[in-house]
């Protein structure tokens, strides 16, 4: 009984962080962008107001169908599911239900749902955006998988918790550093930040898969994207940078939160100093990243 209670509680904690704090993080990132632009920028709470405003609007759909109607909610749900499978400060709440492989699948699910949303919305821009999103997903996923595999290889376990524990115990290593950097680059793309916001590319295809989305539907999709960047940043921090570990949940949570913020600030900095690359350039780039991250695997094999 108490076991299930604690599982439920920690699920609620992770979901709560992903849902309630992701707009705040987005607000902080907007402030940083603004500072580099020499702007004052919107208040950090602006993303909450954006969500509230969008949620209060009329729901308009370009096409019918129950599946299409439920796609934004499903997308957000998939990200929240990811939050329960990822360690965020403490152990992953549903770690008994799935390991690294499940995390990779659930992480991919969000992208697939957004792709479906675009393909089924009947707009040529969304169509182009979705095919770009698909190409990006296909080029980024291997990097994520290889990076996490390095952790798995070292810890001799597919469980994320064991990887964290191994890292805490054995300290930094060359292989995990390389894998961490590869994961970071993949995060930049997964968060839809420049130079990889190719699928949305407002100036080319007007938001790509999201072009036909408005009101509550757009709110849920935006929320899912913000929550995803936060959860993936937690995953990066927990697996590749778990130090220091206090063993007391509030402290660990706080330490992770600070590290996550630092990681996302770097993401934002990369975002503001880069133009958007073309899809072929991005795919070539991620192919090279994936190949380089194989080096991490090689280092792991020789025990570095």
């Amino acid at each position: 009984m108490t076991h299930w209670m604690s599982v439920l509680l920690s699920c609620a904690l992770n979901v709560g962080i992903a849902l309630l704090l992701s707009p705040l993080v987005e607000g902080i990132l907007r402030k940083i962008r603004a500072a580099i632009h020499s702007r004052i920028g919107p208040p950090v709470t602006q993303p909450y107001w954006d969500l509230l405003k969008l949620l209060g609007k009329e729901e308009l759909r370009s096409t019918g169908g129950a599946v299409y109607a439920s796609l934004p909610a499903l997308t957000l749900a998939s990200v929240l599911l990811l939050a329960t499978l990822a360690p965020m400060g403490g152990a992953a709440p549903l770690s008994f239900a799935g390991d690294m492989i499940v995390v990779l699948y659930v992480a991919a699910m969000g992208a697939v749902l957004i792709i479906l949303c675009g393909f089924s919305s009947g707009s040529p821009y969304a169509y182009v955006g979705s095919s770009r999103e698909m190409m990006m997903a296909l080029s980024v996923e291997p990097t994520l998988a290889i990076a996490l595999s390095v952790g798995a290889f070292k810890a001799k376990s597919l469980a994320l918790g064991s990887m964290t524990a191994f890292q805490v115990e054995n300290g930094p290593s060359i292989s995990m550093a390389i894998a961490g950097i590869a994961f970071f680059v993949a995060l930049q793309a997964q968060a839809g930040k420049l130079p990889f916001d190719i699928a949305e590319a407002d100036q080319e295809i007007m938001g790509g898969p999201l072009v036909e989305q408005s009101g509550p539907r757009l709110a849920l999709l935006r929320w899912a994207i913000w929550a995803r960047q936060l959860v993936l940043a937690f995953l990066l921090v927990e697996v590749f940078l778990p130090w220091p570990r206090f063993g007391v949940l509030p402290f660990d949570l706080l330490a992770s939160a600070v590290k996550v913020l630092v990681v996302l600030v770097i993401v934002a900095l990369v975002d503001v100093v880069n133009p958007r690359v073309r899809i072929d350039q991005a795919m070539g780039f991620f192919m090279r990243v994936a190949i380089s991250s194989l080096a991490a695997l090689a280092f792991a094999v020789i025990g570095k």
Partner: protein
């Protein structure tokens, strides 16, 4: 400056005479830098071909004129430039009223494409053999056979309502899908419809429909306004290069009437023109950054640009639309104490512009994103007759400030920046180079600014029947104004060609073979200005009715607090 030495003049005469054989009518030299030929229309294509192929002339613009009240016929004049010789060549053909057609020169001079379609629409002279004779500037629901620039077409005439019609667009080739860009699209500040034919991400073709925003400017100029009212309207052709258009118009009238502009006025015009180039290029850099998602460039360049706008306000009272030009010179001198402030602002802008230039030149991602994108070869640049930075980035070293010096550019000549690659990156490099060069020019002009009057005294009426052609190197390229003087203290015909008009015609060739991601930046790298390009009618979108607002009405509307009945 030597204008057209004897040998060149003789060569031109000889060529026109040889190409027109029995169709040669007359040759005159209305100004030292202008040769005017009248040939029968049967020889027009052959003459145009000879001028371009044998003498290397560059096509500028065509002007269709309804001359029925004067000589009972229509006139089609093609304007060419012999850049190295500082010469304009005008080849004109009379067109009898009962047989309104002329051979198209587009098959031999591709750059004449739009110009010929425009006179087809505006005065109704058919260009026979034109490869693409679709409508260019009249709305799709405009009745057939109604030509707004004819003299018997009242400026405030409203054509009957027509049924809703689609633009005549080309279909996608088999296997390709249509991706519409516009008429309203995030990176297009103004309406333009680019119909892209794509296979996956690759562009295999492109069709365009523009001219959604005609404003009746040329018509107002030759039917309602007077010589000295037109500069205010000309300045409003464009929200960025307004001073360029008012200068260009004034110069055309000054040339036609033989008015000598005081030296101080020419220097102040130079300073204002270069200030306009500085703020326009900074504006463009920001927009180019925005197009490829580089918002930091947008925010920073526009911040750097702002002091220039304040400076213009200190000089003229307005950030834009200075209202300084008038026929014969200027209406307003520089403020007495503006010199030190100007130099201080320029120093600040120069420092930051150089920092931006170095950051941009050194940015490898930016370079990877723009290199080999939207390539315009030198041959294509020459045949489509593009102008300004896009031409110079393709290795065509033309610059109106050097080729047809005006204002004070004969005394403070610019250094022309060129590149050979012809891609978007080259256009970026050319513009950032020009930005820094313009700052130098303002400084030099200010240092050499002579004392004296700022406006010529005009004692006599401007005689009718004269022709004046003037070019100004706008930030986007060469703007052309042609004025044919008339009675009633207004031009008989006033023709405006903005640089974007020439440059947009290179767009389809530049994007084919590229990807969707390259289209916005390719278009952006031409720095298009649609408002400049579109000059004809105001159309109420709800009813399709054409309406031109009069002076009193505009005044009433702008003063009235209740704007519900405003121009929409």
């Amino acid at each position: 400056m030597t204008t057209g030495n004897e040998r060149t003049l003789a060569a031109v005469h000889e060529l026109v005479a040889a190409r027109s054989k029995g169709a040669f009518v007359s040759a005159t030299q209305p100004h030292a830098d202008t040769l005017h030929f009248v040939v029968d229309r049967s020889a027009i294509r052959s003459v145009a071909d000879g001028l371009v192929q044998q003498l290397g002339a560059r096509f500028l613009i065509s002007v269709g004129t309804d001359r029925r009240p004067l000589s009972g016929d229509f006139g089609i004049a093609h304007f060419f430039s012999l850049d190295g010789e500082h010469l304009y060549l005008v080849v004109e053909s009379p067109i009898p009223e009962d047989d309104l057609r002329i051979d198209s020169i587009t098959p031999v001079v591709p750059g004449a494409d739009w110009a010929e379609r425009e006179f087809q629409d505006a005065v109704g002279v058919r260009a026979e053999g034109h490869p693409d004779p679709r409508r260019l500037l009249l709305p799709d629901d405009w009745p057939e056979g109604l030509h707004p620039l004819r003299r018997d077409f009242p400026y405030n005439f409203r054509p009957p309502l027509a049924e809703k019609r689609q633009p005549e667009m080309r279909e996608a080739p088999t296997g390709a899908t249509v991706l519409p860009m516009g008429p309203f699209f995030p990176v297009l500040e103004e309406p333009a419809y680019w119909r892209l034919f794509v296979e996956g991400e690759t562009i295999v073709g492109c069709d365009t429909r523009l001219f959604y925003n005609h404003r009746g400017i040329e018509k107002l100029g030759d039917s309602v306004l007077t010589y000295n009212e037109i500069p205010s309207l000309a300045e409003r052709i464009c929200g960025i290069c307004g001073f360029i258009h008012s200068t260009c118009y004034c110069q055309a009238v000054e040339k036609a009437a033989g008015i000598e502009v005081p030296r101080r006025a020419r220097y102040i015009r130079t300073i204002m023109l270069e200030l306009e180039r500085i703020h326009s290029h900074l504006l463009w850099l920001g927009i180019a950054g925005h197009i490829i998602g580089f918002e930091t460039v947008l925010m920073q360049t526009w911040r750097i640009r702002e002091p220039i706008m304040w400076l213009c306000e200190a000089i003229s009272g307005n950030r834009k639309t200075y209202g300084m030009n008038t026929v014969g010179g200027l209406r307003r001198d520089l403020p007495n104490d503006v010199g030190p402030e100007l130099l201080k602002t320029l120093a600040g802008v120069e420092k930051e512009s150089i920092a931006v230039r170095d950051a941009i030149i050194g940015d490898s991602v930016l370079r990877a994103r723009t290199e080999a994108v939207g390539k315009i070869t030198k041959e294509s640049a020459r045949s489509v007759c593009i102008v300004g930075p896009p031409a110079r980035a393709s290795g065509v070293a033309i610059d109106a400030r050097i080729d047809h010096p005006y204002a004070a550019y004969d005394e403070v000549p610019p250094r022309v920046v060129t590149q050979d690659a012809g891609d978007t990156w080259a256009r970026v490099v050319v513009r950032v180079g020009e930005l820094v060069e313009s700052i130098r020019l303002v400084r030099e002009a200010l240092a050499a600014l002579p004392e004296g009057p700022i406006c010529a005294e005009i004692k006599n009426d401007i005689p009718p029947g004269r022709i004046g052609i003037s070019v100004v190197e706008a930030p986007r390229g060469e703007a052309i104004h042609v004025v044919m003087t008339g009675g009633d203290n207004r031009p008989y015909r006033w023709r405006v060609r903005a640089p974007t008009y020439a440059n947009l015609q290179a767009m389809p060739a530049a994007v084919v073979g590229g990807t969707i991601a390259d289209v916005p930046i390719t278009l952006g790298s031409l720095d298009p200005c649609f408002s400049c390009t579109e000059r004809l009618e105001t159309v109420d979108r709800r009813t399709g009715a054409v309406r031109v607002y009069g002076h009193a009405e505009l005044l009433e509307m702008s003063r009235s607090r209740d704007v519900r009945g405003g121009a929409r």
